[in-house]
Amino acid sequence: MTDFDVPDSLMYTREHEWALLVGDAVRIGITDYAAKTLNDVVYVSLPPIGRTVERSVTFGSIESIKAVSELYSPYSGTVSKVNSELASHPELVNASPYRQGWLMEIIASNLEDERAGLLSPTEYEGFLSSLGK
Protein backbone atom coordinates (compact mmCIF):
# COMPACT_ATOMS: atom_id res chain seq x y z
CA MET A 1 0.00 0.00 0.00
CA THR A 2 1.29 3.42 -0.85
CA ASP A 3 0.62 6.79 0.73
CA PHE A 4 -0.79 8.10 -2.51
CA ASP A 5 -4.35 8.22 -3.75
CA VAL A 6 -4.96 5.72 -6.60
CA PRO A 7 -8.67 5.70 -7.53
CA ASP A 8 -10.15 2.38 -8.67
CA SER A 9 -12.01 3.83 -11.64
CA LEU A 10 -8.93 4.90 -13.63
CA MET A 11 -6.14 3.37 -15.69
CA TYR A 12 -2.51 4.46 -15.26
CA THR A 13 0.87 4.76 -16.96
CA ARG A 14 4.45 4.48 -15.73
CA GLU A 15 4.81 8.20 -16.48
CA HIS A 16 2.34 8.78 -13.64
CA GLU A 17 -0.63 9.77 -15.73
CA TRP A 18 -4.21 8.54 -15.50
CA ALA A 19 -6.83 7.93 -18.19
CA LEU A 20 -10.64 7.80 -17.89
CA LEU A 21 -13.20 7.01 -20.59
CA VAL A 22 -15.74 9.86 -20.72
CA GLY A 23 -18.25 9.08 -23.45
CA ASP A 24 -16.29 8.96 -26.75
CA ALA A 25 -13.29 10.67 -25.29
CA VAL A 26 -10.44 9.81 -22.94
CA ARG A 27 -9.81 12.29 -20.13
CA ILE A 28 -6.18 12.54 -19.04
CA GLY A 29 -4.36 13.90 -15.99
CA ILE A 30 -1.42 13.31 -13.68
CA THR A 31 -1.59 11.14 -10.58
CA ASP A 32 -1.56 12.19 -6.94
CA TYR A 33 2.04 10.88 -6.70
CA ALA A 34 3.15 13.10 -9.61
CA ALA A 35 1.30 16.12 -8.24
CA LYS A 36 2.84 15.69 -4.78
CA THR A 37 6.32 15.22 -6.23
CA LEU A 38 6.05 18.44 -8.21
CA ASN A 39 4.30 19.94 -5.22
CA ASP A 40 3.64 23.41 -6.47
CA VAL A 41 2.29 23.51 -10.02
CA VAL A 42 2.52 27.05 -11.37
CA TYR A 43 2.36 26.47 -15.11
CA VAL A 44 0.78 23.92 -17.44
CA SER A 45 1.56 23.78 -21.15
CA LEU A 46 -1.13 21.94 -23.15
CA PRO A 47 -1.58 21.40 -26.89
CA PRO A 48 -4.30 23.18 -28.88
CA ILE A 49 -7.59 21.50 -29.72
CA GLY A 50 -7.21 19.50 -32.92
CA ARG A 51 -3.55 18.59 -32.32
CA THR A 52 -2.67 14.93 -32.87
CA VAL A 53 -0.95 13.21 -29.97
CA GLU A 54 0.83 9.89 -29.86
CA ARG A 55 1.00 7.34 -27.09
CA SER A 56 4.13 7.77 -24.92
CA VAL A 57 5.20 10.90 -26.81
CA THR A 58 5.51 14.31 -25.11
CA PHE A 59 2.50 16.54 -25.64
CA GLY A 60 3.21 19.28 -23.14
CA SER A 61 4.74 20.06 -19.80
CA ILE A 62 3.75 20.82 -16.25
CA GLU A 63 5.98 22.99 -14.12
CA SER A 64 6.62 23.94 -10.54
CA ILE A 65 8.76 26.94 -9.63
CA LYS A 66 11.83 24.72 -9.63
CA ALA A 67 11.10 21.80 -11.94
CA VAL A 68 9.75 20.89 -15.38
CA SER A 69 7.90 17.62 -15.96
CA GLU A 70 7.17 16.44 -19.47
CA LEU A 71 3.67 15.07 -20.13
CA TYR A 72 3.20 11.89 -22.18
CA SER A 73 -0.09 10.81 -23.70
CA PRO A 74 -1.42 7.43 -22.54
CA TYR A 75 -3.26 7.08 -25.86
CA SER A 76 -2.83 8.20 -29.44
CA GLY A 77 -5.56 10.48 -30.75
CA THR A 78 -6.74 14.03 -31.35
CA VAL A 79 -7.13 16.66 -28.65
CA SER A 80 -10.83 17.49 -28.25
CA LYS A 81 -10.81 19.53 -25.02
CA VAL A 82 -8.28 21.17 -22.68
CA ASN A 83 -8.87 22.31 -19.11
CA SER A 84 -8.83 26.08 -19.58
CA GLU A 85 -9.12 26.63 -15.80
CA LEU A 86 -5.46 25.66 -15.46
CA ALA A 87 -4.21 28.80 -17.20
CA SER A 88 -5.34 30.93 -14.27
CA HIS A 89 -5.46 28.20 -11.61
CA PRO A 90 -2.63 25.75 -12.17
CA GLU A 91 -2.76 24.88 -8.46
CA LEU A 92 -5.92 22.85 -9.22
CA VAL A 93 -3.58 20.07 -10.33
CA ASN A 94 -2.21 19.85 -6.78
CA ALA A 95 -5.55 20.36 -5.07
CA SER A 96 -7.49 17.90 -7.19
CA PRO A 97 -5.34 15.91 -9.63
CA TYR A 98 -8.13 13.45 -10.52
CA ARG A 99 -11.05 15.89 -10.75
CA GLN A 100 -10.80 19.68 -11.21
CA GLY A 101 -7.10 19.29 -12.12
CA TRP A 102 -7.73 17.17 -15.25
CA LEU A 103 -5.51 18.22 -18.18
CA MET A 104 -7.14 17.36 -21.50
CA GLU A 105 -9.47 15.04 -23.40
CA ILE A 106 -8.66 13.23 -26.60
CA ILE A 107 -10.60 11.19 -29.13
CA ALA A 108 -8.50 8.02 -29.10
CA SER A 109 -7.54 6.60 -32.48
CA ASN A 110 -6.40 3.18 -31.31
CA LEU A 111 -8.16 2.59 -28.00
CA GLU A 112 -8.49 -1.21 -28.01
CA ASP A 113 -4.89 -1.99 -28.91
CA GLU A 114 -3.33 0.65 -26.68
CA ARG A 115 -5.45 -0.07 -23.61
CA ALA A 116 -3.41 -3.25 -23.03
CA GLY A 117 -0.33 -1.10 -22.40
CA LEU A 118 -1.89 0.75 -19.45
CA LEU A 119 -1.70 -0.27 -15.79
CA SER A 120 -4.65 -1.18 -13.59
CA PRO A 121 -4.94 0.59 -10.21
CA THR A 122 -3.35 -2.42 -8.49
CA GLU A 123 -0.53 -2.58 -11.03
CA TYR A 124 0.13 1.16 -10.64
CA GLU A 125 0.23 0.84 -6.85
CA GLY A 126 2.68 -2.02 -7.27
CA PHE A 127 4.74 0.19 -9.56
CA LEU A 128 4.79 2.97 -6.93
CA SER A 129 5.87 0.47 -4.27
CA SER A 130 8.68 -0.73 -6.51
CA LEU A 131 9.91 2.87 -6.65
CA GLY A 132 10.06 2.79 -2.87
CA LYS A 133 7.09 5.13 -2.51
Partner: protein, 373 residues
Protein backbone atom coordinates in the same frame (compact mmCIF):
# COMPACT_ATOMS: atom_id res chain seq x y z
CA UNK B 1 27.19 11.02 4.20
CA UNK B 2 25.72 14.46 3.71
CA UNK B 3 26.53 17.22 6.18
CA UNK B 4 23.82 18.38 8.56
CA UNK B 5 23.13 21.79 10.04
CA UNK B 6 22.26 22.18 13.75
CA UNK B 7 18.59 22.43 12.74
CA UNK B 8 18.52 19.08 10.90
CA UNK B 9 16.20 17.47 13.46
CA UNK B 10 13.49 19.99 12.62
CA UNK B 11 14.04 19.68 8.88
CA UNK B 12 13.71 15.91 8.61
CA UNK B 13 10.44 16.02 10.51
CA UNK B 14 8.89 18.86 8.54
CA UNK B 15 10.70 19.38 5.25
CA UNK B 16 11.17 17.84 1.81
CA UNK B 17 14.91 17.13 1.88
CA UNK B 18 17.42 17.55 -0.94
CA UNK B 19 21.20 17.73 -1.25
CA UNK B 20 22.77 21.16 -1.53
CA UNK B 21 26.50 21.96 -1.38
CA UNK B 22 27.11 18.67 0.43
CA UNK B 23 24.38 19.37 3.01
CA UNK B 24 21.04 17.62 3.63
CA UNK B 25 18.70 20.60 3.40
CA UNK B 26 14.96 21.31 3.12
CA UNK B 27 13.80 22.32 -0.37
CA UNK B 28 10.43 23.31 1.08
CA UNK B 29 8.21 22.73 4.09
CA UNK B 30 4.75 23.37 2.61
CA UNK B 31 5.15 24.80 -0.87
CA UNK B 32 7.65 27.10 -2.57
CA UNK B 33 4.90 29.52 -3.64
CA UNK B 34 3.36 29.74 -0.15
CA UNK B 35 6.76 30.25 1.47
CA UNK B 36 7.76 32.85 -1.11
CA UNK B 37 4.58 34.87 -0.60
CA UNK B 38 4.82 34.58 3.18
CA UNK B 39 8.19 36.35 3.03
CA UNK B 40 6.90 39.14 0.77
CA UNK B 41 3.79 39.67 2.88
CA UNK B 42 4.79 38.73 6.43
CA UNK B 43 7.87 36.86 7.61
CA UNK B 44 9.69 33.65 6.81
CA UNK B 45 12.68 31.90 8.36
CA UNK B 46 15.53 30.15 6.57
CA UNK B 47 18.26 27.89 7.91
CA UNK B 48 21.42 29.28 6.28
CA UNK B 49 23.88 27.51 8.58
CA UNK B 50 25.45 25.80 5.59
CA UNK B 51 26.99 29.10 4.48
CA UNK B 52 30.64 29.52 5.46
CA UNK B 53 31.54 31.87 8.31
CA UNK B 54 35.19 32.90 8.59
CA UNK B 55 36.69 35.13 11.29
CA UNK B 56 39.66 37.27 10.35
CA UNK B 57 41.28 38.89 13.37
CA UNK B 58 44.65 40.25 14.42
CA UNK B 59 46.56 43.50 14.32
CA UNK B 60 46.51 43.83 10.52
CA UNK B 61 43.08 42.38 9.79
CA UNK B 62 41.88 45.72 8.38
CA UNK B 63 44.77 46.06 5.95
CA UNK B 64 44.44 42.41 4.99
CA UNK B 65 40.71 42.56 4.18
CA UNK B 66 41.36 45.83 2.35
CA UNK B 67 43.79 43.95 0.08
CA UNK B 68 41.27 41.19 -0.61
CA UNK B 69 38.18 43.06 -1.89
CA UNK B 70 37.43 45.99 -4.25
CA UNK B 71 35.24 47.75 -1.65
CA UNK B 72 36.80 50.26 0.75
CA UNK B 73 36.84 48.48 4.08
CA UNK B 74 38.74 50.41 6.73
CA UNK B 75 36.71 53.53 5.99
CA UNK B 76 33.44 51.73 6.76
CA UNK B 77 31.96 52.73 10.12
CA UNK B 78 32.01 50.23 13.00
CA UNK B 79 28.82 48.23 13.11
CA UNK B 80 28.68 47.91 9.32
CA UNK B 81 27.81 44.81 7.29
CA UNK B 82 28.52 45.13 3.61
CA UNK B 83 28.22 43.12 0.41
CA UNK B 84 31.35 42.71 -1.66
CA UNK B 85 33.28 40.37 -3.98
CA UNK B 86 36.56 38.53 -3.90
CA UNK B 87 38.21 38.63 -7.32
CA UNK B 88 40.92 36.57 -8.97
CA UNK B 89 43.90 38.26 -10.61
CA UNK B 90 42.05 38.32 -13.95
CA UNK B 91 39.20 40.29 -12.39
CA UNK B 92 36.80 37.32 -12.40
CA UNK B 93 34.63 36.69 -9.36
CA UNK B 94 35.85 34.09 -6.85
CA UNK B 95 32.84 34.61 -4.56
CA UNK B 96 30.32 37.15 -3.39
CA UNK B 97 30.10 37.64 0.35
CA UNK B 98 28.96 39.74 3.27
CA UNK B 99 31.65 41.23 5.51
CA UNK B 100 30.62 42.06 9.06
CA UNK B 101 32.97 44.66 10.52
CA UNK B 102 33.34 44.00 14.22
CA UNK B 103 35.54 45.66 16.85
CA UNK B 104 37.90 42.68 17.02
CA UNK B 105 38.07 41.90 13.31
CA UNK B 106 36.00 40.86 10.32
CA UNK B 107 33.45 38.08 9.99
CA UNK B 108 33.08 36.91 6.40
CA UNK B 109 29.91 35.11 5.31
CA UNK B 110 30.64 33.13 2.14
CA UNK B 111 28.79 30.70 -0.12
CA UNK B 112 28.64 27.11 1.13
CA UNK B 113 29.77 25.72 -2.22
CA UNK B 114 32.88 27.94 -2.21
CA UNK B 115 34.00 27.39 1.35
CA UNK B 116 37.14 25.36 0.57
CA UNK B 117 38.13 27.52 -2.39
CA UNK B 118 37.57 30.78 -0.49
CA UNK B 119 39.58 29.64 2.53
CA UNK B 120 42.49 28.64 0.28
CA UNK B 121 42.32 32.05 -1.39
CA UNK B 122 42.15 33.90 1.92
CA UNK B 123 44.97 31.88 3.50
CA UNK B 124 47.23 32.11 0.46
CA UNK B 125 47.07 35.91 0.60
CA UNK B 126 47.39 36.21 4.37
CA UNK B 127 51.06 35.35 4.82
CA UNK B 128 52.23 38.98 4.60
CA UNK B 129 49.83 40.13 7.27
CA UNK B 130 49.69 39.72 11.03
CA UNK B 131 46.27 38.05 11.07
CA UNK B 132 44.50 34.94 12.29
CA UNK B 133 41.97 33.22 10.04
CA UNK B 134 39.44 30.91 11.67
CA UNK B 135 36.62 28.95 10.01
CA UNK B 136 33.78 29.13 12.55
CA UNK B 137 31.12 27.57 10.31
CA UNK B 138 30.73 24.39 12.31
CA UNK B 139 30.53 26.12 15.70
CA UNK B 140 27.77 28.50 14.65
CA UNK B 141 24.17 28.40 13.41
CA UNK B 142 22.72 31.00 11.08
CA UNK B 143 19.03 31.77 10.69
CA UNK B 144 17.60 34.37 8.31
CA UNK B 145 14.36 36.09 9.34
CA UNK B 146 12.99 37.87 6.30
CA UNK B 147 9.89 39.91 5.44
CA UNK B 148 8.11 43.15 6.38
CA UNK B 149 7.24 41.60 9.78
CA UNK B 150 10.78 40.48 10.55
CA UNK B 151 11.31 42.93 13.43
CA UNK B 152 8.09 41.84 15.10
CA UNK B 153 8.95 38.17 14.56
CA UNK B 154 12.46 38.31 16.05
CA UNK B 155 12.00 40.91 18.81
CA UNK B 156 10.54 38.52 21.43
CA UNK B 157 13.81 36.58 21.35
CA UNK B 158 16.17 39.45 22.19
CA UNK B 159 16.41 42.54 24.39
CA UNK B 160 18.34 44.39 21.67
CA UNK B 161 16.02 46.97 20.08
CA UNK B 162 15.95 45.59 16.53
CA UNK B 163 14.62 48.80 14.99
CA UNK B 164 17.90 50.41 16.11
CA UNK B 165 19.90 48.09 13.83
CA UNK B 166 19.73 49.87 10.49
CA UNK B 167 19.96 48.19 7.09
CA UNK B 168 23.51 46.95 6.41
CA UNK B 169 24.47 47.32 10.06
CA UNK B 170 24.82 44.71 12.79
CA UNK B 171 24.85 44.32 16.54
CA UNK B 172 26.21 41.79 19.00
CA UNK B 173 23.44 40.48 21.16
CA UNK B 174 21.84 37.50 22.85
CA UNK B 175 19.08 35.65 21.01
CA UNK B 176 17.22 33.03 23.01
CA UNK B 177 19.98 31.74 25.26
CA UNK B 178 22.81 32.09 22.77
CA UNK B 179 25.41 34.77 22.16
CA UNK B 180 24.53 36.16 18.73
CA UNK B 181 25.50 38.52 15.93
CA UNK B 182 22.45 40.08 14.27
CA UNK B 183 22.90 41.76 10.89
CA UNK B 184 20.21 43.57 8.96
CA UNK B 185 20.96 41.88 5.68
CA UNK B 186 19.36 39.19 3.57
CA UNK B 187 18.95 37.42 0.26
CA UNK B 188 15.25 38.06 -0.38
CA UNK B 189 14.99 41.76 -1.16
CA UNK B 190 12.79 42.22 1.93
CA UNK B 191 13.66 43.74 5.30
CA UNK B 192 15.07 41.24 7.73
CA UNK B 193 17.94 39.87 9.71
CA UNK B 194 20.55 37.17 9.52
CA UNK B 195 21.19 35.85 13.00
CA UNK B 196 24.45 34.07 13.78
CA UNK B 197 24.20 32.01 16.96
CA UNK B 198 27.58 31.27 18.54
CA UNK B 199 27.53 27.87 20.15
CA UNK B 200 28.98 27.72 23.62
CA UNK B 201 30.21 24.57 25.30
CA UNK B 202 30.02 21.21 23.59
CA UNK B 203 28.08 20.00 20.56
CA UNK B 204 24.61 20.98 21.59
CA UNK B 205 21.98 22.03 19.07
CA UNK B 206 19.23 22.64 21.60
CA UNK B 207 19.72 26.43 21.83
CA UNK B 208 19.54 26.77 18.04
CA UNK B 209 16.55 24.42 17.73
CA UNK B 210 14.81 26.36 20.46
CA UNK B 211 15.31 29.71 18.68
CA UNK B 212 14.08 28.20 15.39
CA UNK B 213 11.09 26.56 17.06
CA UNK B 214 10.10 29.80 18.74
CA UNK B 215 10.42 31.76 15.47
CA UNK B 216 8.35 29.11 13.67
CA UNK B 217 5.38 30.09 15.83
CA UNK B 218 5.37 33.60 14.36
CA UNK B 219 6.79 33.02 10.86
CA UNK B 220 6.73 30.56 7.98
CA UNK B 221 9.66 28.11 7.80
CA UNK B 222 11.05 28.34 4.27
CA UNK B 223 13.31 26.05 2.27
CA UNK B 224 15.91 26.47 -0.46
CA UNK B 225 13.25 26.56 -3.17
CA UNK B 226 11.73 29.77 -1.86
CA UNK B 227 15.21 31.15 -1.10
CA UNK B 228 16.03 30.81 -4.78
CA UNK B 229 12.73 32.15 -6.16
CA UNK B 230 12.93 35.16 -3.81
CA UNK B 231 16.49 36.08 -4.68
CA UNK B 232 15.79 35.77 -8.43
CA UNK B 233 12.73 38.00 -8.08
CA UNK B 234 14.96 40.50 -6.25
CA UNK B 235 17.66 40.41 -8.92
CA UNK B 236 20.31 39.00 -6.57
CA UNK B 237 22.93 36.80 -8.24
CA UNK B 238 23.66 33.21 -7.30
CA UNK B 239 27.28 32.16 -7.50
CA UNK B 240 27.67 29.40 -10.03
CA UNK B 241 24.62 30.49 -12.02
CA UNK B 242 24.91 34.25 -12.56
CA UNK B 243 28.46 34.99 -11.44
CA UNK B 244 31.63 32.93 -11.49
CA UNK B 245 35.32 33.24 -12.24
CA UNK B 246 34.58 34.02 -15.90
CA UNK B 247 32.36 37.02 -15.09
CA UNK B 248 33.72 40.40 -14.00
CA UNK B 249 31.91 42.86 -11.70
CA UNK B 250 31.14 45.34 -14.48
CA UNK B 251 29.32 42.91 -16.77
CA UNK B 252 27.69 41.31 -13.71
CA UNK B 253 26.07 44.68 -12.93
CA UNK B 254 27.92 44.74 -9.59
CA UNK B 255 30.14 47.66 -10.46
CA UNK B 256 28.82 49.51 -7.43
CA UNK B 257 30.91 47.36 -5.05
CA UNK B 258 34.09 48.77 -6.59
CA UNK B 259 35.54 51.74 -4.74
CA UNK B 260 36.88 53.68 -7.70
CA UNK B 261 39.91 55.27 -6.07
CA UNK B 262 41.07 52.02 -4.52
CA UNK B 263 44.20 50.23 -5.69
CA UNK B 264 46.30 47.30 -4.59
CA UNK B 265 43.62 44.66 -4.02
CA UNK B 266 43.66 41.28 -5.76
CA UNK B 267 42.35 41.84 -9.29
CA UNK B 268 42.65 45.65 -9.14
CA UNK B 269 44.60 45.98 -12.39
CA UNK B 270 42.05 43.94 -14.32
CA UNK B 271 39.18 45.89 -12.82
CA UNK B 272 40.79 49.20 -13.78
CA UNK B 273 41.05 47.92 -17.36
CA UNK B 274 37.43 46.71 -17.36
CA UNK B 275 36.15 50.07 -16.14
CA UNK B 276 37.79 52.00 -19.00
CA UNK B 277 35.46 50.66 -21.68
CA UNK B 278 31.86 49.42 -21.86
CA UNK B 279 31.42 45.70 -21.20
CA UNK B 280 30.69 43.34 -24.08
CA UNK B 281 27.61 42.01 -22.29
CA UNK B 282 25.53 42.87 -19.22
CA UNK B 283 23.50 40.99 -16.61
CA UNK B 284 19.85 41.99 -16.79
CA UNK B 285 16.39 40.72 -15.97
CA UNK B 286 13.94 39.39 -18.54
CA UNK B 287 10.17 38.99 -18.03
CA UNK B 288 8.36 36.52 -20.26
CA UNK B 289 4.81 36.86 -21.57
CA UNK B 290 4.28 33.13 -21.30
CA UNK B 291 6.20 30.02 -20.18
CA UNK B 292 8.99 29.70 -17.64
CA UNK B 293 12.64 30.32 -18.58
CA UNK B 294 15.32 27.98 -17.23
CA UNK B 295 19.11 28.16 -16.86
CA UNK B 296 20.90 27.69 -20.18
CA UNK B 297 18.05 28.74 -22.50
CA UNK B 298 19.31 30.84 -25.41
CA UNK B 299 18.03 34.36 -26.03
CA UNK B 300 17.73 35.78 -29.55
CA UNK B 301 16.70 38.99 -31.23
CA UNK B 302 13.62 39.18 -33.43
CA UNK B 303 15.47 37.68 -36.40
CA UNK B 304 16.75 34.69 -34.47
CA UNK B 305 20.39 35.74 -33.89
CA UNK B 306 21.70 34.68 -30.52
CA UNK B 307 22.19 37.68 -28.22
CA UNK B 308 22.43 36.10 -24.80
CA UNK B 309 21.62 33.31 -22.37
CA UNK B 310 19.48 32.69 -19.27
CA UNK B 311 21.66 32.13 -16.19
CA UNK B 312 18.81 31.81 -13.67
CA UNK B 313 15.15 31.17 -14.42
CA UNK B 314 12.05 31.00 -12.26
CA UNK B 315 8.39 31.81 -11.92
CA UNK B 316 7.47 34.96 -10.00
CA UNK B 317 4.52 34.34 -7.67
CA UNK B 318 4.11 38.13 -7.46
CA UNK B 319 4.02 38.84 -11.21
CA UNK B 320 2.62 35.40 -12.05
CA UNK B 321 5.06 35.29 -14.95
CA UNK B 322 8.28 33.54 -15.87
CA UNK B 323 11.34 35.64 -15.03
CA UNK B 324 14.99 35.26 -15.83
CA UNK B 325 18.39 36.62 -15.01
CA UNK B 326 20.41 36.71 -18.19
CA UNK B 327 23.55 38.05 -19.79
CA UNK B 328 22.73 40.03 -22.92
CA UNK B 329 25.08 41.45 -25.54
CA UNK B 330 25.39 45.15 -24.72
CA UNK B 331 23.34 46.50 -27.68
CA UNK B 332 20.38 44.42 -26.45
CA UNK B 333 20.79 45.06 -22.75
CA UNK B 334 18.68 48.21 -22.66
CA UNK B 335 15.68 48.23 -20.35
CA UNK B 336 12.58 47.77 -22.49
CA UNK B 337 14.37 45.82 -25.22
CA UNK B 338 12.14 43.09 -26.67
CA UNK B 339 13.82 39.70 -27.00
CA UNK B 340 12.95 36.07 -27.67
CA UNK B 341 13.75 33.39 -25.11
CA UNK B 342 13.99 29.88 -26.53
CA UNK B 343 11.94 27.84 -24.08
CA UNK B 344 12.80 24.27 -25.07
CA UNK B 345 13.45 25.68 -28.56
CA UNK B 346 10.15 27.53 -28.76
CA UNK B 347 10.76 31.33 -29.18
CA UNK B 348 8.84 33.17 -26.48
CA UNK B 349 8.46 36.94 -26.17
CA UNK B 350 10.31 38.63 -23.35
CA UNK B 351 11.21 42.12 -22.22
CA UNK B 352 14.45 43.34 -20.64
CA UNK B 353 14.05 44.89 -17.19
CA UNK B 354 16.33 46.08 -14.41
CA UNK B 355 15.51 43.99 -11.34
CA UNK B 356 13.97 43.78 -8.81
CA UNK B 357 11.02 42.37 -10.70
CA UNK B 358 8.45 43.47 -8.13
CA UNK B 359 7.12 47.02 -7.68
CA UNK B 360 9.32 48.51 -4.95
CA UNK B 361 6.41 50.64 -3.72
CA UNK B 362 4.59 47.41 -2.81
CA UNK B 363 7.37 44.95 -1.91
CA UNK B 364 10.97 44.99 -0.72
CA UNK B 365 12.88 46.48 2.20
CA UNK B 366 12.65 50.05 0.90
CA UNK B 367 8.87 50.05 1.21
CA UNK B 368 9.18 48.67 4.74
CA UNK B 369 11.70 51.39 5.61
CA UNK B 370 9.30 53.98 4.16
CA UNK B 371 6.44 52.64 6.23
CA UNK B 372 8.53 52.83 9.37
CA UNK B 373 9.32 56.52 8.99
Amino acid sequence: MLKRTPLYEYHIQHGKMIEFAGYDMPAWFTSISDEHLAVRNGAGIFDVSHMGRVNVSGRQSGAFIESLVPTSTTSQPPGKSFYTLMLNSGGGIIDDLIIIKRPEGYLLVINAANRTKDLEHILSHSSDFDVAVEDITDSTTMIAVQGPSAVRALQPLTTTALSEIKKFMHADSVVGSARATITRTGYTGEDGFEVILHRSGIDDNSAALSVWGDLAERTKPCGLGARDSLRIESGLPLYGNDIDETTNPVEADLQWVISREKKGYVGAESVTREMTSPPRRLRRGVVLDDKIPRQGFAITNATGDRIGEVTSGSFSPILKKGIAMAYLDLPFAQVGQLVKVLVRNSPTDGKVVKPPFYDQRLYGWKRTAQQNI
